[in-house]
């Protein structure tokens, strides 16, 4: 070897660690500070350093970990790729972080049953690509699909751009293998496309954010891959026109694969980012993908185009080549980073309102930010009513407080309009304070009872989902 090594003792030597090492082997139990720091954050940029990092390889590793953790009362926070946007994977109270990225095998793909079974650490895009080889399609498509894991997507019930037509992660989970807080293993659901036997525990666990159990095997539902996709971009000078056009498309009984919206602020952030030219006059943008057979598309595309034109689109551009399609989508994908050119901090809220209330929601946001003390950019999945409200603020004193008060008021308005405070990112710790806006005390207490039943010692991802008062 190139270097001589000094022997170093582990940072922490406490109850549980030696038991974990005995049960899992020392390669799977990391306690040195450098490792712990590498598992201390997620996509929210929050940071809390765990005391132990566990990298399990099998279900029994996970079970052994939870058994020991439960006995000693050590908090356990599970983590896929750590890309979440609500703080779900940040080990707020220390303890164990369970890194499931190493459990990343596709266990089976059954084209005849239209199902696939995977371990939680499989990257979503990898699953999509592998099933596509059989002409199959796994639709949930969060923007992070290329690097987030299926396990993480299930835990947060991730959404994505195909939600309007194909639904979200929840709609594709058939069965789960789950390790409970005491280390016992249960199997919920069946590998069948329908099952009404008993309560739907699978659905209870999807979106439970690691507070009820840890998924070790996930069976997903697949559908046939659509034959063809066409992409269209429509440019508007008025925000309301774009919203009306989106409505008109759906009123014409066309359900696009994706129906994305960008407002004036989002557009000005990506102007000049390449992809497509965005003139100064463009104040709103719709990006529409339609899919199906060649015949379907031949029928649908002109209707979508004319709907946009009828609602005063300045220009409608249909991508003619794959390259053009990518160029159009690259504009959408560059919003998030481009927003940082406006200000250095971002609060990215993923609120969702009934589709009919979108116009109203955006007007309310304008009113909240009437004095324009802060920049707010809105874009997202207009087809589902899931709008990303991005509140941008700088380091200047007072800005953070203004940003937070804007978030608070946006949340209130959303709930008032019959919407929800999280359409796809989950609650984590970032939104737990708003839970009571949307969920009644009675419902919250039912949820808490579930939590206490599955996790009597409260070791599963503490500090998440429930408001701190509970």
């Amino acid at each position: 070897m190139l270097f001589k090594r000094k022997k170093r003792t582990a940072d922490i030597d406490r109850k549980g660690v030696s038991e974990l090492v005995r049960a899992l082997g020392k390669d799977r139990v990391l306690t040195e500070i450098e490792d712990r720091l590498c598992y201390s954050y997620d996509g929210t940029k929050q940071k809390a350093v765990p005391d132990i990092v566990i990298r399990p390889g099998t279900t029994s590793d996970v079970a052994a970990t939870l058994k020991i953790a439960n006995r000693h009362g050590i908090p356990v926070c599970s983590r896929g790729a750590g890309t979440g946007l609500s703080g779900g994977a940040v080990p707020l109270q220390g303890g164990i972080i369970l890194d499931l990225k190493g459990m990343n095998r596709i266990l089976s793909i059954c084209p005849e049953d239209f199902t696939a079974t995977v371990e939680p650490g499989v990257v979503t895009k990898y699953l999509q690509d592998e099933v596509a080889k059989y002409g199959l399609f796994y639709p949930p498509d969060p923007s992070s699909a290329a690097f987030s894991t299926v396990g993480g997507n299930v835990a947060e019930c991730a959404g994505g751009i195909t939600g309007l037509k194909y639904g979200v992660t929840r709609d594709y989970i058939l069965a789960l293998e789950i390790v409970l807080s005491d280390g016992s293993v249960i199997h919920t659901g069946r590998k069948t496309r329908r099952s009404v036997t008993g309560y739907d525990l699978t659905r209870l666990f999807v979106g439970s954010e690691g507070t009820l159990g840890i998924f070790t095997k996930i069976t997903v539902k697949l559908i046939p891959e659509p034959e063809k996709i066409e992409t269209l971009a429509a440019f508007f000078s008025e925000r309301d026109d774009a919203i009306d056009a989106a409505d008109l498309v759906i009123e014409n009984s066309i359900l696009p694969r994706t129906l994305e919206f960008m407002d004036h602020m989002s557009i000005s952030a990506v102007r000049g980012y390449g992809g497509i030219t965005l003139d100064e006059g463009v104040k709103a943008l719709l990006l529409i993908d339609i899919d199906g057979t060649g015949e379907n598309i031949k029928h649908d595309l002109p209707i979508v185009e004319s709907a946009c034109r009828k609602k005063n689109a300045l220009k409608v551009k249909v991508a003619e080549t794959g390259k053009e399609r990518n160029a159009i989508w690259s504009v959408r994908r560059s919003i998030s980073p481009a927003l940082y050119t406006i200000a250095s901090h971002k609060l990215n809220e993923d609120v969702c309102v009934p589709r009919s209330k979108i116009k109203e929601l955006l007007q309310k946001i304008d009113t909240i930010n009437e004095k324009q003390e802060i920049f707010v950019a809105n874009f997202g999945h207009i087809g589902d009513g899931n709008i990303h409200v991005n509140i941008m603020y700088s380091d200047e004193p007072g800005q953070e407080e203004i940003a937070e008060s804007v978030v608070q008021r946006v949340m209130e308005e959303v709930v008032e309009l019959g919407g929800t405070i999280s359409g796809e990112h989950g609650i984590g710790n970032r939104k737990s304070q708003f839970m009571e806006l949307e969920i009644s005390p009675q419902e919250l207490s039912i949820m808490k009872k579930f939590k206490d039943f599955f996790d009597p010692k409260g070791i599963m991802n503490p500090g998440k989902l429930f408001p701190s008062s509970l």
Partner: protein, 433 residues
């Protein structure tokens, strides 16, 4: 309910007082990282380990912890810093445009300053690399010694005296270096351009045939090629071990050499050297290097830009595929140019994942040999699947790595530099006419 007691953060007492060093510009880059995790998608090391400590986001967090004085430089930290291949592919996909190279260079420098550089590399960087004559003598002795090494295979042999990597097939050292071969510049009547050739160590001492190809091809295109005799190593080996001082010294010497000549352009056939002298020197030597930097080209880039349609060339019958060297593709965005030249000189076939790292490169291959092999295996699989008879690339480091992988599988596929394909095509076309 049990309340769990949190472990307190402790700085290791024995290692207090690490120096953080350097300019502030990297600190700003650290804070730019939005922790989105997109670097996971492209990092060749992460693809093998799935470990957060082996990807940019993890190392940036470690840099952040250093700045916050939560940790100090330790062996573990050094391992994680050294596990970066510096391919800079993550830089390319980063949505927040974090200049990761600044951060990793600062970390490497910090490791070197706080933990030292092992003796052997230190001697090489500080005393041998800056002295061309001493370097020549040592390599000449090595080339004599290696003749007595057992086990040879198609110009490759087991062991290189310095590395003791028993399993590898490594090319033999040339008896006469490229610099010695091209002491005199071949004069061209009314040359269309006069270019300098930066050979780099691998081409100078091992792949002398690549240097010959560069000079021959350019001469055939009516271009005069100057091979400055006093040029030194580009400095990449020392910079990858954080030896900023040695790197700077090499950069300054090379600046003197190339600025003293009146050249229309400088070409290099090594992706890493090109990156170093074109991009890294801007950071090391400052903006005054800009004028020279603009004149530096990869050999294929140069040919495609200035020659375009190569006069008199007929493509070879041979099927050739191309491997993208990381430093050419991810740092310089060069991918079309080498392919364009290869298409004109052979039957070009594309391979799957041509842009995947071959695993070669510097100390990474020594420290993480197991990971290197995994990357190499993927690469060799793609090459074999492509159906090509030859794999060409624009980096002698990649040539060495891929040749090793193919040799250990007893494959008949040849590995070469793409300029050699053009050389052969030109020679054959001439013979036919």
């Amino acid at each position: 309910m049990t309340t769990y007691e949190r472990q307190k953060f402790e700085v290791f007492s024995g290692l207090k007082g690490s120096r953080l060093l350097m300019s502030d510009d990297w600190k700003e880059e650290v804070s730019k990282c939005s922790k989105c995790g997109k670097c996971h998608t492209v990092c060749p090391v992460f693809l093998e380990t799935h470990d957060e400590s082996s990807v940019a986001r993890g190392r940036i967090s470690l840099a952040e912890a250093l700045l916050d004085q939560q940790i100090v430089y330790t062996e573990k930290l050094r391992d994680y810093v050294y596990s970066c291949k510096k391919c800079m592919r993550c830089r390319k996909v980063c949505p927040s445009d974090v200049d990761y190279e600044k951060i990793i260079s600062a970390l490497l420098h910090g490791v070197a300053e706080n933990m030292g550089i092992p003796l052997l590399p230190k001697i090489i960087f500080r005393y041998i690399l800056p002295r061309r004559i001493l370097f020549d003598i040592l390599l000449k002795v090595s080339s004599r010694v290696q003749r007595f090494m057992p086990m040879k295979k198609r110009g490759q042999m087991r062991h290189l005296p310095l590395l003791f990597m028993g399993k590898r097939w490594i090319p033999t050292l040339a008896r006469k270096s490229a610099l010695q071969k091209f002491r005199k510049t071949k004069k061209i009547k009314n040359p269309r351009m006069r270019v300098g050739f930066f050979t780099g160590c691998l081409i100078n001492y091992i792949y002398v045939d690549v240097a010959e190809a560069v000079v021959e091809v350019l001469n055939r295109m009516n271009i005069e090629v100057v091979v400055p005799q006093r040029q030194l190593c580009c400095g990449t080996p020392s910079s990858t071990m954080g030896d900023v001082k040695s790197t700077k010294r090499l950069a300054e010497e090379n600046r003197k050499v190339f600025e003293s000549l009146e050249l229309d352009a400088i070409v290099s056939a090594c992706a890493t050297c090109t990156k170093a002298i074109k991009n890294d020197y801007l950071r090391i030597l400052g903006p005054s290097w800009k004028q020279m930097s603009d004149k530096i080209y990869d050999i294929s880039e140069f040919i495609d830009t200035f020659i375009g349609d190569i006069p008199g060339v007929k493509p070879l019958e041979e099927k050739v595929t191309y491997h993208d060297p990381c430093h050419l593709l991810w740092v310089r965005n060069i991918s079309e140019e080498p392919r364009s030249v290869l298409k004109k000189s052979s039957r070009f076939v594309e391979m799957d994942m041509a842009d995947a790292c071959c695993g070669g490169g510097g100390i990474f291959t020594i420290i993480h040999y197991d990971l290197t092999l995994k990357m190499l295996e993927r690469k060799v699989n793609s090459i074999e699947k492509s159906g090509a008879a030859t794999v060409a690339t624009n980096c002698p480091g990649c040539v060495m790595q891929i040749a090793d992988g193919l040799a250990s599988r007893n494959s008949t596929i040849k590995t070469t530099h793409s300029i050699k394909i053009l050389q052969e095509a030109l020679r054959k076309s001439e013979a036919r006419t």
